[in-house]
């Protein structure tokens, strides 16, 4: 279908206009996707939280509360934007866009199905890591420019946290890249189509890598038990204390989009992206996005489960966990993976 639209556009318009229109269409598609994913993940979070806590969750707006988050978003859009008088206005206003744009850019390389992938570069994994770590600049700017001590503490924590956990995310993905020998996401999936999911191919080291990735990924998205950046019982609301209305909503949505991105990476690298388990529905194209969504929701559910169960770590324990536990384990794991591949013990 995408190919027919592409051909049709290029047949009716001159080449420059066609590619421009195509880009606009893709942007609109991704923005819509962004909003829908963000809003419904918020709803899912609230529902899942309620079920963990013996509550019912939002059920007033629409059937099963399906329009609850839309109503919330509408409220936030119409709200007055307030801020502190001594804030650094330019950076203060810029910060939410930093966070949201990086999240959007990271989404562009994720292969939702075999053909839906905005651009398939040969350094896909590297690109994802690089882009998703830019988001922290937005948080740092927001925290610093708000001229609020709580925000500043939150922002500094965020900086420390992201710099540390970036390593673990990178190294655990690198462990898997050893198996595929490529950074291109589409080829990683093609490899899995041929030899089975990477988590099965790499068995023990792959499972360890997955666990490390989940821990580091949760930390990367600043979610509990690593939500020191917001830590409501310590810092009020952390870096976004002084934000209101739509600017707050940007931060809020970006958190959920980042969660989606981490889950998509996990699914793509470890669980074969849009592939069906053991190729049972191979060839049925319309099932691909469904498989992808199911897996992503599964991973996101796991992250929510973490959030609603565990207490928060302290900042020094957070760093200790990374530098004393995750990093050495990760390095060991890479060596083990290399040995496994060298001896041909992959499945």
């Amino acid at each position: 279908m995408i190919k027919t639209i592409h051909d049709w556009l290029f047949s009716v318009m001159p080449e420059w206009a066609a590619s421009l229109t195509e880009m606009v269409l893709i942007a609109v598609f991704y923005l819509t996707l962004f909003a829908v994913i963000g809003l419904y993940l918020v709803l899912l979070e609230r529902k899942v939280a309620a079920w963990f806590q013996m509550r019912k969750g939002p059920n007033r707006v629409g059937p099963w509360g399906l329009f609850q988050t839309m109503a919330d978003a509408l409220k936030l859009v119409t709200k007055e934007l307030t801020g502190t008088t001594k804030a650094d206005k330019f950076l203060y206003n810029l910060a939410p866009y930093f966070v949201i744009v990086t999240a959007l850019v990271a989404m562009s390389v994720i292969p939702f199905t075999q053909s839906v992938q905005a651009f398939d570069i040969n350094i896909g994994v590297f690109f994802l890591l690089a882009v998703s770590s830019i988001g922290v600049i937005g948080i740092l700017l927001g925290g610093w420019s708000s001229n609020n001590k709580y925000s500043l503490i939150g922002a500094m924590r965020s900086g420390v946290q992201t710099i540390s956990y970036e390593l673990s995310v990178g190294l655990s993905l690198l462990t898997m890249v050893l198996l595929t020998g490529t950074l291109q996401l589409s080829e990683i999936i093609a490899n899995q189509q041929e030899h089975g999911w990477l988590i099965l191919q790499g068995h023990i080291p792959a499972i360890i890598a997955f666990m490390i990735f989940m821990i580091a990924g949760t930390a990367e998205t600043n979610r509990a038990p690593f939500d020191l950046v917001e830590a409501e019982s310590e810092l009020g609301a952390g870096f976004h204390t002084e934000y209101s209305g739509m600017k707050f909503a940007y931060f809020f949505l970006a958190e959920f989009i980042n969660m989606f991105i981490i889950a998509s990476i996990a699914v793509t690298i470890f669980f074969g992206g849009w592939l069906s388990p053991f190729g049972i529905t191979e060839g049925i194209i319309w099932l691909q996005p469904i498989w992808f969504t199911v897996k992503v929701v599964g991973i996101i559910f796991l992250m929510m489960w973490f959030r609603w169960t565990f207490p928060r770590l302290r900042i020094d324990q957070l760093l200790k966990l990374e530098w004393k536990y995750l990093l050495p384990l990760n390095l060991m794991n890479i060596v083990i993976m290399a040995i496994v591949i060298w001896l041909g013990w992959t499945i």
């Binding site: 310590e234 565990f310 900042i315």
Partner: protein, 374 residues
């Protein structure tokens, strides 16, 4: 510039003040803590009180002795029954009034239920403060059952005003015994869940073990009481040492932990819930028959003199001091509230720790701000 000077100048850090409260999620009300912070490390804490001061002690000088009781509900609202009990005991002591055994036993049962309710709420909030949000709902589910028991018998859920000088306002509800037994069965099943969800959790252990240490000596010199003191190994249970009501008839242990850190204060409270259940179980089947109140005069006049009685609330030792000149109002009324002296020790416990330690330690003190301010 020499090399040394550059490093000294460029790495000079600055201490700064942060106002934690009066509106802050971790201060459990309107307590204001003025923190001096160096990065994440706390250098000094200065609690600033008075945001919820309602001059309860002064209001007591205006009221009759029956009316005083209902004001004490509003001090430590989580152990309101025990506060009421304290005032009633003081008045009864000064009048040399002996209440019936039935009243004593019912008061004891209700005090212990209050203690469980207060500790469950504390447990939920402790979980919230260290970041585990589900604890709150588990705790409230169990507390709700106790609140229902109270509501059925006293008519209120928080500010009960069930005790009156000389006895109880009305008899226990016919369903009371049945409901308490149901609760005990339920809670015996659910309390181990508290342990597996939070106590044994490795993150929680790391957050609380060795954090906010209050030594045995400091515990005595700061005059802390209740679970905070017992967490430091200082035996201070008023129920054991100066027994009142029916506590001398029941068999229970005073919980002592010697580490003095946040985790031991936590464990004291969890163990106290078990002990409270033990006390209730011993009493619930043998509530003696008798009157529910000894008739007093409509206007109670205390003899001239000073009277003091202390009880063990969920937070520690609550002392009630009445200075009477023989009129129908007290000349001076003073409450020795456990929260205030427990809060005093905060600086000793937390300085040198991180902000996260402060929050965990504050939660383990289980302060109720209206109790501190009165």
């Amino acid at each position: 510039m020499t090399k040394d000077k550059i490093t000294n100048d460029s790495f000079k850090t600055q201490e700064y003040f942060v106002n934690m409260g009066p509106q802050h999620p971790a201060t459990h009300g309107v307590l204001r803590l003025i923190l001096t912070i160096d990065g994440e490390i706390i250098k000094n804490i200065e609690p600033d009180l008075g945001y919820i001061h309602r001059s309860i002690e002064k209001m007591c000088e205006r009221d009759s002795y029956q009316q005083i009781v209902h004001l004490t509900d509003r001090m430590d609202y989580l152990s309101s029954h025990i506060n009421n009990h304290a005032v009633c005991l003081t008045v009864e002591k000064s009048l040399e009034l002996e209440v019936t055994d039935r009243v004593k036993v019912i008061r004891t049962i209700i005090d212990e239920l209050t203690r469980i309710a207060s500790h469950t709420l504390w447990w939920g909030v402790m979980g919230m403060d260290v970041g585990a949000l589900t604890t709150y709902f588990l705790a409230f589910r169990d507390r709700e059952m106790i609140n229902d028991i109270f509501e059925e018998t006293c008519g209120a859920r928080l500010t009960m005003n069930y005790n009156i000088p000389g006895g109880l306002m009305n008899d226990i509800h016919p369903n009371f015994i049945k409901r308490v037994k149901e609760f005990l069965v339920h809670f015996r099943k659910k309390l181990p869940e508290y342990d597996s969800l939070l106590t044994n959790n490795v993150i929680f252990q790391k957050r609380t073990k060795g954090v906010g240490i209050l030594s045995y000596k400091d515990a005595i010199s700061y005059g802390v009481s209740g679970p905070v003191a017992r967490g430091s190994g200082y035996s201070s249970d008023v129920r054991k040492i100066h027994s009142y009501a029916a506590y001398d008839k029941v068999n229970f242990d005073e919980v002592l932990f010697t580490e003095g850190d946040t985790l031991s204060r936590y464990k004291v409270r969890i163990a106290e819930m078990w002990e409270s259940m033990k006390i209730i179980e011993q009493l619930i089947d043998n509530i003696p028959e008798g009157d529910i109140s000894v008739p007093t005069k409509a206007v109670i006049k205390l003899p001239k003199g000073e009277f003091y009685q202390k009880v063990e609330t969920a937070r520690g030792e609550l002392g009630v001091y009445i200075n009477s000149t023989g009129t129908k109002n007290p000349y001076r009324m003073k409450f020795r509230s456990p929260g205030l002296s427990n809060l005093n020790a905060l600086n000793q416990m937390v300085v040198g720790g991180k902000i996260g330690d402060l929050v965990a330690t504050m939660a383990s003190l289980d302060i109720v701000v209206p109790d501190i301010d009165r």
